[in-house]
Amino acid sequence: MRLLIRRFDEKSYWQSFEVPVKRGMTVLDALFYVRENLDPTLAFRASCRMGICGSCAVKINGKPRLACETQISKFKKEIKVEPIDNFKVIRDLVTEFEGFFAKHKKVKPYLIAEADYENPVEWLQTPKELSRYYVFSLCIKCGACASVCPASATLNGYLGPAALVSAYRFNEDSRDNGKEERLKIVSDSVGVWRCHSAMECSEVCPKQIEPAKAIQLLRRSLLR
């Protein structure tokens, strides 16, 4: 299988590698093969190799995917691997995530509640209460949604789909008391109102979270 990698080291260029294909091999395995056998200078991010850390999101044949969850057998002759869009490329497939995480931090992605740490008690939650936000808690912050979002492409300050998913996830948590604080943040001019419902974020999310739906639900909360 021919692996075409868009590399970046001061300037961007394509480099081709021939990789032997084995049954069950993923694109991430192919990248490791290249680094271990063909070119040790190839830079890419990876950690868990099982689709839960979100480190290995890259653009594969034009679509952002997790390299560790993409089987090589899916493709016929050639695989094009590029860094995801809308992120500054540091080197080869490694992109700058500082701004992405800063936006995530802005929406206060944690439980805001009074807790007595001296006498801790369980925070009970019914399955129905859990179901209100569970799917949105599966976000792995891979950046695939932001890489295809047209609003994120043109406006650096836009919070982006991942941060808005987090805001919705904590707002819907029955144990949380920070809903008003978060609604104030997401209703800012760089928040939910900048989304133009292109729905690409939901299309490419490797966890099928539907960030576009979370944004619409946040808007509904704000319009009430």
């Binding site: 043109t154 300050g157 609604l183 209703s187 001019s189 109102w193 133009h196 808007r219 704000l222 319009l223």
Partner: protein, 109 residues
């Protein structure tokens, strides 16, 4: 509701829906047959109170939808967002001028 953005968003949607019906009605009126576009027919149509009200609302909705859309496009850029107040003010002034000029022309029939 918080500030102008949610109001702008909901009215963008509502005016969009309203325009589907009003513009369809406008096309049906003006293209029902070739005679409808003749000068005499257009003047007599615009002279009637019902058509004036109809075109007043069409003008109002189109002006809001178009200029709010333009504002959103400009605010979607880094440069536009940095000058948000200026963008809002300039677009509002142009929209108001366009609307009142249109309403003035409508009133002349």
């Amino acid at each position: 509701m918080r500030g102008f953005e949610p109001i702008a968003w909901i009215f963008q949607a509502l005016t969009g829906i309203a325009m589907v019906f009003l513009i369809t009605a406008h096309f049906l009126t003006t293209h029902a047959n070739h005679e409808m576009l003749s000068y005499e027919n257009a003047v007599s149509r615009l002279g009637s109170f019902e058509y004036k009200v109809f075109y007043f609302f069409l003008l109002l909705f189109v002006t809001f939808h178009a200029f709010n859309g333009l504002r959103a496009i400009i605010l979607d850029t880094d440069g536009g967002m940095r000058r948000k107040k200026v963008v809002n003010a300039v677009i509002s002034v142009i929209a108001l001028v366009a609307f009142f000029y249109g309403a003035f022309l409508l009133s002349r029939f």
